[in-house]
């Protein structure tokens, strides 16, 4: 997780890349392994959100994780490719200008279980998360940012294609 402690220095880009790389490896487990195998880890609340990871649909997963719905916000910046170069590892990231961020979560609507990853953001942390997600097929991707007790979201369609036949 890119939990840089102070927002006032600009990390050396190479270093940041390495940090992001490391974060992706560490977090793949959350995104891709069966939830049962994952250890208890921080999410929207202190308990491992087993129920939320168990839900099939995005709406049910959001409900199980947060118990409320999110409103779309242009302050949530979701970066993901329009067409995935490899559906097995799709690089995505979220940053936000919202204040008092406490968690960031990703939902892949068309995956067998929609909740892919959820991060708790401690106080004083830059709210920026990069991850790699497995996507079974073309899907809506949703990022939810919990800030000051409210939920804000951004969505993007990510196309997973068989490829080929380029001009």
């Amino acid at each position: 997780m890119t939990t840089t402690p102070k927002p006032h220095w600009r990390p050396h880009p190479t270093r940041r890349l390495i940090l992001r790389g490391a974060a992706s490896v560490a977090l793949l487990g959350l995104g891709n392994l069966p939830f049962a195998a994952a250890p208890a880890r921080a999410a929207a609340n202190d308990k491992y959100p087993e129920e939320a990871f168990r839900q099939k649909s995005e709406a049910d997963a959001i409900k199980a994780l947060y118990g409320k719905t999110a409103e779309p916000s242009d302050k949530v910046k979701l970066d993901a490719p329009e067409i995935a170069e490899n559906g097995g590892v799709v690089p995505i990231s979220v940053t936000t200008t919202l204040e008092k961020v406490s968690s960031i979560s990703f939902f892949v609507a068309e995956n067998p279980s929609a909740l892919a990853a959820s991060y708790r953001i401690p106080d004083g942390t830059i709210p920026a998360v990069a991850n790699r997600l497995k996507m079974a097929r073309t899907t809506k991707l949703t990022a939810i940012v919990e800030a000051d007790g409210k939920l804000y979201s951004a969505t993007k369609e990510v196309k997973v294609t068989v490829g080929g036949c380029g001009g």
Partner: protein, 583 residues
Amino acid sequence: MAIRRRDFLKRAGLAAATLTLPRLARGTEAASIYDLERFGNARILHITDTHAQLNPVYFREPSVNIGIGEMAGRPPHLVGRAFLERFGIRPDSADAYAFTCLEFEKSAGRFGKLGGFAHLKTLVDRLRADVGERRSLLVDGGDLWQGTGLANVMQGRDMVEVANLLGIEAMTGHWEFTYGEQALRDNLERFKGEFLAQNVFLTEEAAFNDAPAFDKAIGRVFKPSIIKELGGRRVAIVGQAFPYTPIAHPKRFTPDWSFGIREEELQKHVDVLRGTDKVDAVVLLSHNGMDVDLKLASRVTGIDVILGGHTHDAVPQPMPVKNAGGTTLVTNAGSNGKFLAVLDLALDGGKVSDVRYRLLPVYSELLRPDPAMAELIGRVRAPHVADWSEKIATPDRLLYRRGNFSGPMDELICTALRTELNAEIALSPGFRWGVTALSGQAMTMEDLLAETAITYPETYVQEMTGAEIKDLLEDVCDNLFNADPYYQQGGDMVRAGGLSYTCTPDAAIGSRISELKLGNGKSLSASHRYKVAGWASVNGQPGAPVWDVVGKYLRSGRMMPERLGSGVTLKGVDGNPGIAGQG
């Protein structure tokens, strides 16, 4: 020849929009169509998607190029008469022949072939001499190194030599990447110009492993831009490679690189060129494809002109697109060496005050081939010409490829694959390169290679269920007709032999394709397994190269049967000006 020249003089109802009227009184060579009125202080010449066609070619523009949603009826999605009307081109003129499919065979006899690098060299030199020293720049939008048997065996080295002699100063890429990183880098060592791509980055693994990159701090693999002084003003050229290279082609060619449109990185870079470098103009040399460029122009600010390619659209006039920072002009300069775009800029203290744009057809009958380039072309071709000059067929009809759904050239390839590989169904990629063969004129192995020469030509035969076949057609169809151009990859629909279907382009993915039928009229069953032959798979395949399979079929003296049992019925696009006939 003389008759053809006269035809030019008499018929040159050249579009007022694109060319000045020929000064007939001159009587020499009729080349006055290339006398351009002087304008501005910087001239940028642009070629794109030449697909390594060293010699002049016949190339029929599409009769089906459908735009849906916002793109319906908007250039480039106009064909035939609708195209002529939109751009004020006289029917029956040389320009009507160059820019549209209308009366192609008849006009081919009258106006001859277009393009050819020796002819192009003459025209380029002339247009550069016209404006004087340090006032012009020649750029190439990519797909320069692929499209012929020669380019394929030489991995593009032939085209690097040609590019150097032609004087290309900057280029970007697409098929260039399919030779793999090593061959690409070897070629770029020899290339005297700059290879520009703001949108190619190291994958995180490659960055971690210290793979080579132009800008290691951000992982940008190639130089993003150059700044050239033209007419005493500074012009930035930013390169935009084909964003979907590792998806449209086997990923194994570029394992360390990640592409994408990279709008944000582009905006940042343009802002630096404007804010820090204080350039007078920013030009994007793009291989996005025209619909993607039109969307990008509405979202990224600070670009004066996008010189576009990839979708092979010969669009005579730029499309102005408004965005938050002003207006960006978007062009697309056709393919196969048929056209040379001339962008004249009036630069005036930090901005472009006016623009003239012309897309000049390179009429090989009107241009004397440049001797040095002709000599170079002869030299690079010499080792292979004998091997490939064998006549393998005489087409019994006009064979062209370009069109959204089908073309007789691909129908022939599909027929050959089905016959030789004993399959019920054949699939062939919807490439937009590949030249046109006239009925009754000998076709050689070199001609066949010009339809098929790629670095992953292996054929395959596999069993697929009806449901899998439908899914595949849906997937490719979405690449063509997604309502959001950023989700399109360019290229045309995969060609199907022994299979007919109905397509509803403006439907959603998953519901565009219906009524799939085999050649014998029987409906395709979702669960039944069918034997399917094909080539150009993004997954490695073990079969013989497609040119050997099709060559074998043609050598046996067969062409296409009268009844193909294939075909596409279109739904929901009645009256769309992107349709002028079959294809």
